[in-house]
Symmetry: C2
Subunit: 402 residues, 2 copies
């Protein structure tokens, strides 16, 4: 019949207040009751009641005492680290990485292995084996994990299950989720790898307080992770950020502007013999090799070109350079800025280096998994009010409205 209008009995108020207490404790770290009282504006009595309830439901913990002030020692409360666990997976072109984190985001275990490139079943087995291993090392059963998020180099549908255009996955990723889901009991969510890198940037990097930014993932291909209003923007069918195919004067339509293949091509064009990897090319450029530097500059120019196009459409506050190639910020950043300033459109554009040098995709996946697992635990503990206290609104609800 009608939609939900958030109206209800007094119980709703209790839920809301419990949620508020939870949010304060989550954000401000271990906190004494008086501080929670001040931060929420609730009365002492109500805070005490809410905490009793939250502790009984195992989402809040006592974490020592605070003797800093005079008077009796204040009990400190925190989110119970073991109230929810998340499993992050990064299925890369070469390796599979897995991490298990607790509710605080602490990494309890991490493991990786080479990625089977041809055999979908073997890939799925690798994932589940690593997951079991990590769960074991974390001292929990796999069943205790509340959510898994799997990063893949592909376009992922809004349902978090469908894979499209997966170049680096066996059989185009067909059946991958189902195969993994058969062996892992918790809810599964797929996500584009660059999107997860953007999440990592937002949570651990330089974009903590930036509402709108774009992570340019320069690696095997070129992709953009777009965060608008503090939330990932995936597009209608998960295809947002496929900026590798943006038109470029020197490139045919329908081909990628930039990526490992393009860089190799430009290396040949610059007269570089052999087939040096991008990594080696950047190394040589660092050594002063003129030809390698020319390739670096061409790469920077194309990055700038793509950033300018994106800026004209959504004008983010900030661009972040990420990905395996983008990690060479020492060489790229200045040149990208130079080209942006040169043929600048109507708007000034800020570009910075990634603040998450290692494991960005994995860390983003783990963060997202933890987030969902926690939300579920919190909702169950407080009576499921749809409130959500992230900076800049509700983050990341992979809303499948169907």
């Amino acid at each position: 019949m009608g939609g939900d209008y958030l109206a209800g009995p007094q119980g709703l108020l209790r839920s809301i207040n419990a949620r508020a207490v939870l949010a304060v404790v989550d954000r401000e770290g271990p906190l004494g009751r008086p501080e929670i009282t001040r931060a929420t504006g609730l009365s002492k009595t109500t805070v005490a009641q809410a905490l009793r309830e939250l502790i009984a439901r195992d989402v809040v913990d006592e974490a020592g005492i605070d003797t800093a002030r005079r008077g009796p020692a204040a009990t400190l409360y925190r989110i119970a680290p073991r109230c929810a666990f998340g499993l992050g997976v990064d299925i890369g072109h070469l390796r599979v990485r897995v991490a298990v984190v607790d509710a605080t985001g602490e990494v309890l275990a991490r493991a990786e292995a080479p990625a089977p490139r041809r055999d979908a079943a073997a890939l799925a087995d690798t994932v589940t084996a690593l997951a079991s291993e990590c769960a074991g090392r974390a001292g929990i059963g796999v069943a205790a994990v509340g959510q898994a998020v799997i990063g893949v180099p592909a376009i992922v549908g809004r349902d978090g299950r469908t894979i499209r255009r997966a170049y680096g996955l066996p059989r185009g990723g067909k059946g991958l989720v189902d195969a993994i889901a058969r062996d892992l009991p918790m809810p599964l969510l797929l996500e584009n790898d660059v999107n997860l890198a953007a999440v990592a940037e937002q949570r651990f990097g330089a974009c903590a307080d930036v509402g709108d930014f774009v992570l340019l993932g320069v690696g095997v291909g070129l992709g953009a992770g777009i965060v608008l209003g503090g939330r990932l923007h995936r597009g209608f069918a998960g295809g947002a950020g496929e900026v590798g195919f943006l038109p470029h004067p020197a490139t045919e339509l329908g081909t990628e502007v930039l990526g490992a293949r393009r860089i190799a091509e430009q290396a040949r064009a610059a007269g570089i013999a052999g087939r040096p990897s991008p990594r080696e090319l950047f190394e040589r450029a660092r050594g002063g090799d003129e030809k390698a530097l020319a390739v670096v500059d061409a790469t920077a120019r194309r990055i700038a070109h793509v950033a300018a196009s994106i800026a004209l459409v959504i004008e983010p506050e900030l661009f972040v350079l990420g990905g395996a190639v983008g990690a060479n910020a020492d060489l790229l950043l200045g040149r990208v800025r130079h080209h942006l300033a040169k043929d600048a459109g109507p708007l000034p554009i800020r570009v910075i280096a990634s603040g998450v040098p290692d494991d960005a995709v994995l860390r983003g996946a783990a963060w997202l998994a933890r987030h969902h697992a926690r939300e579920r635990a919190f909702a169950a503990a407080t009576g499921a009010p749809p409130q959500d206290a992230g900076p800049g609104g509700r983050p990341y609800d992979t809303d499948s409205a169907g």
Copy 2:
């Protein structure tokens, strides 16, 4: 100190419930109490109490009785049409249009006049004079209007006051708002004209239930109104959607891809003598003129090019063709689709014609003004809970967090 976590005393619950009742009444039109009770899930008593309060504060009205069922006649309730008024203004290149609407969105008065093109003061005077006239004809004082929204062909900052890159305004729009604000008592908000056309499309056109869409405004210039998650996306400094400057193979960087000037240029290139207006060109094309048709096709190709680029960045569900030139959907739509299908990127792209043929900018401005005026009235009447029941989340808060 801390942020707001939406926690509070029982009074909060009353606010929330009043707000829910208001939202139901707003969405479902005139409604009897029993239906409100069902839709909100609240008890009869509470609904009665809320309605008493809302009526006392003049935001809700009795609107006749319902004798359809047997039993005693049920009183019907609705949003009081006179609880808030909005003033919409469209400052175009040639004419200024103004409309006054009531809380239901009904247009109470509309007026227009030629736009003074050189004199900023005269332009401001035109606006205020038309506003006074409309308010008079609507039977209210200008002071009764709760919000004005002014559409301008320019980039508008997030504060809704600053104007940048206003080609069609005297003195680049400098001082325009202040001059108008001196004579109009209500809060003023500027907005980009294409953005307002997008709002109109969302509210009156074909995009009522589409969360993510892009309105391509093809007129004197080319701009995009971007709606993501049901909300306008303005960009960091209001510059989102400046897609007229997207790179195009046949165009130099920093120049516009499309617009009246480009079309004239292409007409010359096609060997058309004289300087026919775009309108005339499309007329001739309709008559079968080969050269004019060539120009139309070239225009369509460029529109397709821009749409494809936008789709690669944000992948909206839908593109809508609007603006004075875009209104020639009979000629353009098929050709745009053709070109999109031809050099399609990885994603299928839907394009439709605008569903708001007339006064799109004005209607969008009026809608937005009404929206803000109403929100303010509702907040005052219910005790200002930050809830907001639009389809797909909170719409259009011009959040100036400063």
